[in-house]
């Protein structure tokens, strides 16, 4: 099996959306377009008790076919790479499960195979995770309550590219922040394979009290399709565009 291209949106936020369309619906749309949505809810290290407004985190990721996790700032680096890798595996497994059903003609998943065969299939999944191309669009909620967390976010993203660039497959990242009064989201880092030297990317930030997570996700999705168009115009052949494989 040949490794394809996986696309993910990684949303980093610390609260509930309060403006515009429902982010859960947009996430479902993204999934349908072959883009997985992962969500990480970032808590203050001092924060205690049940976090408010973060129920949405799980709902968005579920709809987006991705992985969600709520973490304290200090664990952000570990979590960002874990969530990304787990979502990759999840997507690949999903594709393999479809193949299995195709071949075996019945509803069968990897988990239902006898241990011997399962052992072989997980190696294939692992290989694909190592070799596939990955595109991650990072969408950072930069509303007022997130401001003091942004240095940690920056570190975590540098760490993410360190982890993923250790793979055989290639990676591309871009970073967007929201809200932006004119365009909903602002591109902070153009598509690149390195997220290590991002100086001053979160400097000029708006401090409006609104969090348009849904519209921001939709813009991120557009940004993805724009990228695909640019790629097509450059004549890059990508037969696996549709499903990611």
């Amino acid at each position: 099996m040949k490794a394809g291209r996986l696309k993910q949106i990684l949303l980093l936020t610390d609260g509930c959306s309060n403006y515009g369309e429902d982010p859960v619906a947009v996430a479902a749309l993204a999934r349908n377009q072959g883009v997985t949505v992962n969500v990480i809810g970032v808590l203050d290290d001092q924060q205690r008790g049940e976090p408010q407004g973060l129920q949405e985190v799980e709902a968005i990721a579920d709809a987006g076919g991705g992985v969600s996790q709520i973490v304290y700032q200090k664990n952000l680096s570990e979590t960002v790479q874990m969530v990304t890798k787990q979502a990759m595996n999840q997507t690949i497994q999903g594709v393999i499960n479809q193949e299995l059903q195709h071949i075996l003609g019945e509803r069968k998943t990897i988990e239902e195979l006898p241990p011997e065969q399962r052992g072989e299939v997980v190696e294939i999944v692992d290989d694909l995770g190592e070799t596939c191309q990955l595109e991650v669009l990072v969408l950072v909620d930069s509303s007022a309550s997130m401001h003091h967390k942004l240095p940690t976010v920056k570190e975590a993203l540098a760490d993410l590219s360190l982890s993923l660039n250790a793979r055989t497959g290639s990676n591309e990242f871009s970073v967007y922040s929201f809200p932006d009064s004119k365009h909903t989201i602002t591109q902070k880092v153009a598509w690149t394979s390195e997220l290590s030297a991002m100086h001053g990317i979160f400097q000029k930030l708006s401090s409006g009290g609104y969090t348009p997570t849904g519209p921001a996700l939709k813009e991120a999705l557009y940004a993805f399709s724009k990228k695909a168009i640019v790629r097509d115009e450059q004549g890059v052949v990508d037969p696996y565009e549709e499903t990611g494989f």
Binding site: Q69, S77, E78, M82, Q86, N89, Q93, I110, E111, P114, P115, R118, G119, V122, E123, V125, D126, E130, D159, L162, S163, L164, N165, A166, R167, T168
Partner: protein, 304 residues
């Protein structure tokens, strides 16, 4: 990230769906990121049984265990015994069974021991790593949590991080990860494990570990400077970080030289001799015997 949300009581029977083997739970041994490990017994033999929910992760571990139960005649990690599914309350839980390693956690073992043991354990690890690296793999998630000491020999138990050389390290823990400290990539090469060995040595004197702070490299250098470790070890650690050692073998040899030197019997005239008591002597002899065994030299030749 999910763990099975059950706690199996002693006496619970775990029956395999495919192989029909039956295991009886004795007690819980520990818990990890992807499963719970129980001490079990079957036909009077004790085993370690790991049950989880993440089938694929468990299967990858099984594949590794199978591969490394024996590499070139050397045992690296617990032997593999069985893999199966357990159905309970209409839920299927994958599990695997391996050899039970009856040992002490690394940190417990080192408590109250002389600092030589830090070097000896590091050497033992490096010897096993030599074999692993030679067969084309890197341990990856090398950390004290994954080490048990049985019969004065360090053994690793969790092979979940074992990664083919050239690939992305599968699992790591920040404190032991060279990437976290700014000392290189997370691509598997033998030196990745050597770095983790130095961090295990550091941890013996910083049991609570420490964070990278603003400048990871500087933090680490400062911590090394003030570490209450023998200066010869500190030198080797620093050299490892500087990239002086290109293989487990090279680092092992450097450590071996230091250990051999320190294992010499103290001279009557030295001021230390006053404090040297019988028990310390006994340990010294034990220490040198192990070191010499590493070199395949008979201890008697030197001592008599």
């Amino acid at each position: 990230m999910k763990k099975p949300d059950f706690n199996l009581a002693a006496g619970t029977t775990i029956r395999g769906k495919w192989g029909h083997h039956v295991y009886h739970v004795v007690r819980k041994l520990g818990e990890g990121a992807c499963g719970v490990v129980y001490l079990c017994q079957k036909n009077g033999v004790l085993y370690a049984l790991k049950v989880g929910t993440e089938s694929s992760r468990l299967m990858l571990e099984v594949n590794m265990l199978k591969k490394f139960s024996k590499v070139q005649g050397v045992k690296l990690g617990p032997s593999f015994v069985d893999v199966d599914d357990w159905i309970v309350n209409n839920e299927t839980y994958p599990f695997y069974v391996m050899e039970f390693i009856e040992g002490q956690p690394f940190s417990v073992f080192l408590k109250g021991k002389k600092k030589e043991w830090v070097g000896i354990c590091a050497m033992q690890l490096l010897s096993d790593l030599e074999h692993l690296h030679r067969s084309g793999y890197v341990f990856g998630d090398l950390k004290t949590d994954n080490l048990l000491v049985a019969d004065s020999k360090v053994q690793w138990i969790d092979v979940g991080g074992v990664t083919a050389i050239g690939r992305a390290i599968k699992e790591y823990t920040e404190f032991y990860d060279r990437g976290y400290w700014g000392y290189g990539s997370r691509r598997a090469d033998p030196l990745y494990d050597l770095f983790a060995v130095t961090m295990i040595m550091m941890e013996t004197v910083y049991p609570n570990r420490f964070d990278a702070q603003k400048d990871p490299k500087k933090t680490l250098q400062d911590k090394l400077k003030s570490a209450p470790l023998p200066s010869e070890y500190k030198k080797i650690i620093a050299e490892c970080w500087r990239g002086k050692y290109h293989s487990a073998t090279e680092m092992k040899e450097a450590l071996g030289q230091v250990l051999m030197k320190r294992a010499q019997p103290p001279k009557r005239s030295s001021r230390k001799s006053v404090q040297t008591d019988a028990s310390e002597w006994g340990e010294m002899i034990g220490v040198s015997a192990i070191v010499l065994a590493f070199y395949g030299i008979s201890a008697w030749n030197l001592w008599l």
